[in-house]
């Protein structure tokens, strides 16, 4: 069995809320956004873990803490068994070559004034890995690998001269140029057109095999997970409510939230009928999360105990964990 590449233990990020003048005058209590509130999981070498949840559930914040782009309020992140917070500054620099990120929006993450070639080889320059000639060669090779061809022609182009699909490829090439082994892909296809999405997804699967990569694949779109993820972690209000093998979670979703999310995925078939009603209401505020289980205000199974105790993840099957005592008890009987 493969060993864990990344292990996350009880990770928390509580952002202090900007206080207004009036709050200060009245000496009101300091408020926090509990963006991530106690998240634990691990990712095996060569595995793709999908981190799925609605907007504001804390997916990006989790990804940024794992890459140490953000210092957590508390908790640990281990890379190959060693805490990344124990790395010195220069050690961290080295580690950054190994842990890379692909952002959501290729428009925002590419500088309009930097040519494609410059943008892709930029990380090589930061890490001073090669001389100029070598760097160009490495860059051209990776460009061909991600389908930016002919590379020598596109090398000198600027972002606005490329199509959306090509721009997304540039962002991927830039992440892979330092030869990482772990990549956080934060909604890499959310902005893309349907036809481009399929292309990028296919490319990411191909590159994973070719470069022996491990991904944390962040998305709110469960349907795309099916084509790339091995396991899924479902996030709600800063917590993981269910985690397990993809096929298992798809076939037997246990947490009522997972079931709801799966059911809301648009199905390209006019004869398809939803099995659950769409829940009313919206994701509550992460400033004042509801007491007990964070999903209880929207849950059709909610009982008194759900409002009193914060549920822990419990095993419901092979490698499958769920934070819902009501369903866990149901399953056992």
């Amino acid at each position: 069995m493969a060993e864990d590449l990344i292990t996350v233990k009880d990770l928390k990020m509580h952002f202090p809320l900007q206080k207004g003048l009036l709050d200060n005058l009245l000496a009101r209590e300091k408020l926090f956004v509990r963006a991530v509130d106690g998240v634990s999981f691990s990712i095996k070498k060569g595995e793709v873990l999908g981190l799925v949840g609605e907007s504001g559930s804390g997916k990006t914040t989790t990804g940024r803490m794992i890459l140490r782009l953000l210092e957590p309020t508390s908790g640990e992140v281990f890379y190959n068994g060693r805490s990344i917070f124990s790395y010195s500054k220069s050690e961290m620099e080295k580690l950054r070559e190994k842990m890379q990120v692909i952002f959501q929006d290729p428009y925002a993450s590419l500088s309009p004034r930097m040519s494609i070639g410059k943008a892709i080889s930029h990380p090589l320059k930061i890490h001073a890995l090669y001389d100029k000639q070598e760097a160009k060669q490495v860059c051209l090779t990776i460009m061909e690998k991600v389908g930016l061809s002919p590379a020598s022609f596109l090398y000198k182009k600027y972002p606005h001269q490329l199509s959306g699909g090509q721009r997304q490829r540039v962002v991927i090439a830039r992440a892979l140029v330092t030869n990482p082994d772990f990549v956080v892909a934060d909604e890499p296809i959310a902005m893309a057109d349907v036809s481009v999405r399929a292309m990028i997804l296919e490319l990411m699967v191909k590159l994973k095999k070719e470069f022996d990569l491990t991904y944390l694949f962040i998305t709110h779109d469960l349907a795309t997970c099916k084509y790339i993820c091995d396991r899924l972690a479902i996030m709600y209000l800063g917590r993981i409510v269910e985690i397990g093998p993809l096929a298992e979670v798809f076939k037997n979703p246990v947490h009522p939230y997972t079931a709801t999310l799966l059911d809301a995925v648009p199905v390209p078939d006019p004869t398809y009928k939803r099995t659950h009603p769409i829940p009313k209401g919206e994701i509550p505020s992460a400033i004042n999360p509801p007491p007990g289980c964070c999903f209880n205000p929207r849950c059709h199974l909610a009982q008194k105990s759900c409002r009193e105790h914060e549920p822990e993840l419990a095993r419901v099957g092979e490698d499958h964990f769920v934070a819902c005592p009501v369903m866990s008890i149901k399953l056992r009987s």
Partner: protein, 319 residues
């Protein structure tokens, strides 16, 4: 028989730019029946929004309608004078956009924006009546009336989107053009919104043009679907027919490239190539450079719309 509410005839819309002319809509003919939901789908840049904007004569400069007619209840919008168009806009034909934050005024409360919309269009309505109308509109959108006092930034994306549709419907139009109304929303909120749209459609006998690049979104809601490609119509048909027996090779490619969570579809098959350059569109059928079934005639002659098994399909395979 169904009443035709909108009859678009050979519409051409152009954007003259420095390097030539973008033929954003290039000979589109389409009829809409009263009370139906028409899904308008296609890749980015194929002309969906341009078609939507032309119906309201809201094209951004340098865009202009080069030729064709848009008959709304039999009257041609293209040749109307500006005053008449103003009367239609908002009152009879409403449009909602992708990003509600850009179309709601951040400085005014939701209530004030409803009142102003009502008072500019309906002479003689007083403030109290206007507020009452706004309150009942919010109710049918599933939002409590207290929230009229709030400002746009205090609301979630899903709620703002519902407010937008409320603003669109408050003047009781019969045609609603919704341009990617759910693109910025999460799946659950999106599903809630589409349910709401379906309800409103029944309740108000609304005709809806639902623009989206995601075929999956319109499957359950749309009665019919129009697939656009490179400024032209590739295929028009009943929703069920388009999904189950797509005829145009482009529609087939589009369907194969969207994920379906309910199917054991092991892989996606992305479409080769990229959308056409609308300044120098390919000769013949605009799709021919990407078409897996391309024939000799496709490179030379533009296919007209053929009728086949209830579909209207612009492809030489069905001549």
């Amino acid at each position: 028989m169904n009443n035709t509410i909108l009859d678009i005839q050979d519409l051409k819309v152009e954007f003259p730019i420095n390097i030539g002319t973008v033929r954003a809509v290039d000979g589109v003919s389409l009829k809409l029946n009263q009370g139906e939901v028409m899904g308008l789908v296609g890749e980015s840049g194929c002309g969906k929004s341009t078609l939507g904007f032309s119906i309201l004569r809201l094209l951004r400069p340098p865009g202009r309608i080069a030729s064709g007619r848009i008959l709304y209840h039999g009257r041609d919008i293209v040749s109307m004078d500006e005053k008449e168009v103003l009367k239609l806009r908002g009152r009879r034909i409403a449009m909602i956009f992708q990003d509600p934050l850009t179309s709601l005024n951040p400085l005014f409360s939701i209530g004030r924006q409803f009142v102003e919309t009502l008072q500019t269009h309906e002479k003689g309505i007083n403030k109290k009546q206007a507020i009452l109308q706004a309150e009942s509109m919010l109710e049918s959108l599933g939002i409590s009336k207290e929230r009229l006092q709030e400002f746009p930034h205090q609301m979630s994306g899903g709620m703002r989107q519902r407010i937008m549709i409320g603003m669109g419907l408050i003047l009781n139009p019969d045609l609603l053009i919704a341009d990617e109304p759910t693109t910025s929303l999460d799946v659950i909120v999106e599903a809630q919104f589409l349910d709401l749209l379906a309800d409103l459609c029944r309740q108000y006998n609304l005709t809806i043009i639902l623009i989206t690049h995601n075929l999956g979104n319109v499957a359950q809601l749309a009665d019919r679907i129009t697939v656009m490609y490179g400024g032209t119509l590739a295929e028009v048909g009943l929703s069920g027919d388009i999904f189950h027996t797509p005829l145009h090779p482009y529609t087939q490619g589009l369907l194969a490239s969207i994920p379906n969570i309910k199917l054991d579809q092991p892989e996606l098959s992305p479409m080769e190539g990229s959308p056409p350059d609308l300044v120098n569109p390919p000769t013949g059928c605009v799709f021919h450079p990407r078409c897996p079934q391309v024939m000799d005639i496709c490179t030379r002659q533009r296919p007209p719309a053929f009728q086949k098994n209830g579909h209207q399909v612009s492809c030489w395979l069905y001549r």
